[in-house]
């Protein structure tokens, strides 16, 4: 993700604040539809369809991430077709129940919001988002907490993986995977983390850390940023108010009856 965020493209150069606002409008519009809405959600795919190639984000990478979490949405939505069997409309004699429609709607919303969130991080970077949050009034303590968490996340995860692997290699079959050894293992990890945190803290203090991080790209709100935000936001709102696919479909049916 950080490699992606470190790239340079027209989308990356847009101010993080503009991107965060645009994203919020997007998510707000997508989730505000009624539960039986399917067709009006489709135009929103334009947003990822434009940003992904412009931001040079590999599709496969994103698709894998979405697939990984898709079961959650399926798990909850899957009950809709079972409980809601009212036939909403029928296509070629096949009745389509309200549950099927709302299930489809849940899946569409899920994919849209997840893709958008991942996309936001991939073109903004985590530090950019944190800096934006701080500008928007999030307390300093929390934004610094976020950045510190993010910095040490990977270091410590690697340590966790190493410990886990070491245990696996030593525990032939099941020995040593029980609760007793687990808690000792976690306890040691915790002690080590604690000491590491104190060392880091000391090191930062001795380098004049005052609870503030600095960004690689300076935050500057230019006209391009404002245009980006306004254009996308108004597009999302129009898509929310006008059901475009419905209109296009009706037009096509009239032209080619």
């Amino acid at each position: 993700m950080d490699t992606l965020a470190g790239k340079d493209s027209p989308v990356h150069r847009i101010d993080p604040r503009a991107k965060v606002i645009t994203f919020v409008v997007f998510a707000g519009c997508v989730v505000s539809f009624r539960k039986y809405e399917v067709s009006a959600l489709l135009p929103y795919f334009l947003f990822p369809a434009v940003i992904l190639p412009l931001g040079r984000i590999p599709m496969g990478f994103l698709a894998r991430k979405v697939l990984l979490v898709l079961p959650i949405a399926v798990l909850i939505g899957i009950f809709n077709p079972i409980f809601d069997r009212t036939v909403l409309f029928s296509v070629a004699g096949l009745g389509v129940s309200g549950g099927m429609v709302s299930f489809t709607s849940i899946l569409l919303r899920f994919v849209l919001t997840v893709v958008a969130a991942l996309m936001l991080v991939a073109v903004t970077g985590f530090n950019g988002i944190c800096a934006t949050l701080e500008r928007f009034g999030v307390p300093r303590a929390f934004s610094v907490q976020l950045m510190m968490l993010y910095r040490y996340l990977f270091v410590l995860t690697a340590e966790g993986v190493r410990m886990s692997r070491a245990r696996e290699l030593r525990s032939v079959g099941r020995a040593g995977t029980g609760l007793r050894d687990f808690s000792a293992l976690i306890g040691h990890l915790l002690l080590r983390t604690w000491h590491r945190a104190q060392r880091i803290h000391m090191a930062m203090l001795s380098r004049c850390f005052r609870g503030e991080f600095f960004l690689r790209r300076p935050m500057r709100l230019g006209s391009a940023d404002i245009v980006f935000t306004l254009a996308w936001s108004s597009a999302f709102i129009v898509m929310r108010l006008v059901n475009m696919p419905q209109a296009v479909g009706r037009f096509l049916l009239e032209v080619f009856p």
């Binding site: 190639p53 307390p139 510190m148 968490l149 040490y152 995860t157 050894d181 604690w194 203090l205 479909g249």
Partner: protein, 341 residues
Amino acid sequence: MHMADALLSPTVGGVMWAASATGIAYCSKKVKEHLDERAVPLMGVLGAFVFAAQMINFTIPGTGSSGHLGGGMLLAILLGPHAAFLVIASVLVVQALFFADGGLLALGCNIFNLGFFPAFIGYPLIYRKIVTGDVTRAKLVMGSTLAAVASLQLGALGVVIETLASGITELPFSTFVMFMQPIHLAIGLVEGIVTAAVVSFVWEANPDMLGGLQGKAPAGVMPRKAILAALLAVAVITGGVISWYASSHPDGLEWSIAKVSGKEELESPDGIHSQLASLQDKIAFLPDYSFRNTAEAAESLQGDASSRLGTSVSGILGGSVVLCLAFLVGFILKKFAVKNG
């Protein structure tokens, strides 16, 4: 346990965002007052510890399946409620942004369900009540297990109420509760026992750590004002959530009314006008119709089938055209990017 955006309505998401944001602001203030602001790095690294701890599994005796540490209660015990709430919130933000674990709109809900209950209910009202005076292993184990179980039960209940208040899933309340609570009782027990095991290990190895960042705060004395404030907050927020739940019934009603009267507007923009109209409908029809009147609805739907078919055909046709256009734009942009880059 992490909720996704697709299951939430903006109202519920917004309310929970507001609740969690208030929590974060309050805790940041508290942390700033009681701790050196520069001590925040310590919290950050401990947040990362939660991720690391989740890399290590253990086998659950008797079942053969494996589990891992959740961490909320452990953080509360180590850091105290305010710092713990901030750390849990930050962990959830990172999980939402990088691992798509829980949506961004749902972040407010998730922070509330997984952060508020352990930090401000389970920890002060259960753990601190049990672990007082001379600390013994029995007290530690008992306190952390019970506190973790209770927090997770409350959190699961929160998920149920928030999902139902949003009105997107069709699961009835009782079914959903019967589905969620027992599962989370089991998960909570495992979590509690693991937390207890880790806490007692740390207590033996380095007892100072359990006082943690709370430092010199008078041990064992939870100020009465704080408890009252916590209870008040719970009351207000629960009241808020429940009232949203109550107010979501009319939404459902609006639907059944629309179905019965055959004027359901699947394709119409619902601006202020239709909102007002539906409000009027609500007032006028409220006494006469039950929450879900499927039989009647089905009847009226049959009569309306032909016009509905027209709508759906144009919807499907138009939808595929728009979708194709969106992907075409993407495809062209991609070609363009490859050529230039």
